[in-house]
Subunit: 207 residues, 4 copies
Amino acid sequence: MQEIQKIAEDMEKARYDLQFKYIVGILEAKIKIINEQLSEKSGREVIRTVLSRMKEPESIHAKLERKGYDRDFATAQEKLNDLMGVRIICLFLDDVYKVANMLKKQSDIKVIKMKDYIERSKKNGYMSLHLIVEVPIGISEQPEVKRVEIQIRTVAMDFWSVLDYQLIYKKDVSGAEEVSKELKGYSEEIAALDRKMLKLRNKIEKM
Amino acid sequence: MQEIQKIAEDMEKARYDLQFKYIVGILEAKIKIINEQLSEKSGREVIRTVLSRMKEPESIHAKLERKGYDRDFATAQEKLNDLMGVRIICLFLDDVYKVANMLKKQSDIKVIKMKDYIERSKKNGYMSLHLIVEVPIGISEQPEVKRVEIQIRTVAMDFWSVLDYQLIYKKDVSGAEEVSKELKGYSEEIAALDRKMLKLRNKIEKM
Amino acid sequence: MQEIQKIAEDMEKARYDLQFKYIVGILEAKIKIINEQLSEKSGREVIRTVLSRMKEPESIHAKLERKGYDRDFATAQEKLNDLMGVRIICLFLDDVYKVANMLKKQSDIKVIKMKDYIERSKKNGYMSLHLIVEVPIGISEQPEVKRVEIQIRTVAMDFWSVLDYQLIYKKDVSGAEEVSKELKGYSEEIAALDRKMLKLRNKIEKM
Amino acid sequence: MQEIQKIAEDMEKARYDLQFKYIVGILEAKIKIINEQLSEKSGREVIRTVLSRMKEPESIHAKLERKGYDRDFATAQEKLNDLMGVRIICLFLDDVYKVANMLKKQSDIKVIKMKDYIERSKKNGYMSLHLIVEVPIGISEQPEVKRVEIQIRTVAMDFWSVLDYQLIYKKDVSGAEEVSKELKGYSEEIAALDRKMLKLRNKIEKM
């Protein structure tokens, strides 16, 4: 409890919320342009929603604990990649990769890691394309870089993840295992649906 | 061509865009509050996206023609309910009806018509709950009322409708019929998915 | 202290922040339209900034005390007109009255009081046009009405008021009286400037 | 006329509007942070308004002509610093310089020129602090840099400039010279007012 409090205080001292707003402002400006470029090229809307969140002291603490790290904000900044998070929700499966490619092409941010949980979903069925990017922050004299986790997924995958998220808090409840299995099944159904809709879209576009 | 031009001019004369912005401003303020009230009650996000659009002169003209009405803006204002449109996209199936109920409870707008294309989808597979509401507009001395079509649907239904929309422009192309049939099939699949996800959500919430 | 706490709790119970957001949403939509209508007519920008604020429990309590009322939220809602406040900052003196006239013409809000502190400034030099309006709130079954204080002033008057506001917290400090007198003098200077700039603008427009 | 048309087309080809939106997005994120930092330090609001504009083909053409340059978009990009413009309006005179200093400290933008039209106003009375900055644009593979003119001024100076702007279009009209002289006089009055208000603010803050 005291450790969480300490993390919260250190975040405030560092004015982490200002840093977050700045970084997210840059990325959202970038994503807007990417969306306009891709939408113009394809003649249809590509990105439906962009969301962003700053990780709360409680879940920073929980993650440090789970990973066996020291439970303070300095360690969090060094070890965790998802203190700042941006989610991009696309309509179609191929759009996810198009957006990722555009992000990789930007000369002023650096993609330092990419994990494709669509190609190979997590054990529980979670699907998403994860990019860890470094964004320069220039709000003081020393140039610095902040890491951001960007999750790119389809609306269907995003819908699935809402239930997955609700399950986190009920892990040890009786019946949880059965529900998890059922949810995993829907993940495969959703993946199949995304592929079929994409195929049909391609068919329509070629007509 | 001249008729479309005339409709565009009459819309400009009536400053229809200003009226649209005002009406949509009111409705968006309302929907925001409804979302916060419902989200607070249910402990999860209820509305994911709100979109709005003003019908373009071209499609006003096309609709008047299709319905056999006189093709001018006065007739459009009298006969068509969807010159102004707002779309509310919810995560779960039951949220669609919760949002509709909240809209019906508002004392200053009036729901004059409701069509449930979820209960009974359109022939092509289209699903959505449609409300026609009357919103008072007080930007001049005479009180007046504007009709708005509010479409409420799930993210899954909305995803489906993107392809449906693309098909409109390819109706007479060869292969369109087959594609339409395939798309209709996915509509049923999506409806089934929405029901299963809702059932599972209810199970999780009761755990 | 306990009284302030109680006011804060009652505001939260009534979800006063949601009511505020709704009411301000309506008014801002209205003011936007008014700005576009006036700007179109005059061929120049009319409103420069719109700000809004909800009165904090501390200052609600202080105002109730100063006026000799019971110090609770129910009394505040009944007696105080400025729990919700909107400020409209115009470029020129005549624009202030044009905006006020447009607000009076709106059929769905009601101006119940108007105080012209420009025609006759407050003793300390404060200038602004104050309207108390009633805005219908329809977020539940019972129609209801909320009062809002709308302050309309020029950029020059608004600039002046920043210093006036800083003085509030230093009323009893030595030197305050002299500073107040000096500030009052600037108020007259600003009023004269506004009149001269308006006169010159009219001259330019007639050229 | 044809030259203006050509400039408009070249801007469209280069998708200059997208570039503008991106650059302005970055700068606005930066200015927001600067405002929060300065406001926190001084305990009062520092920046009142931020505006931005992209120079129109007509006025690009007029400026190229006035300066004796070739009248095409390539030349404009090379020679003109104000194709993209951002205006920051502060409450007090010293805030103008505080904001400028913060902008100079940013490690990822470069101030390449600064002109102080407050210290020494233009002949017609125009006052403002002008910074030309270079902002990196990374929306494609090749890193690039865009120049932006940032004008920083007080609300009082900004008020003055509205009339100055209206005069531009009436330069050759009879009576213009007299009006110009009158306006120039008000510029000095405004400068004096800004200095007096600042002095009084400092007095209040020290009380």
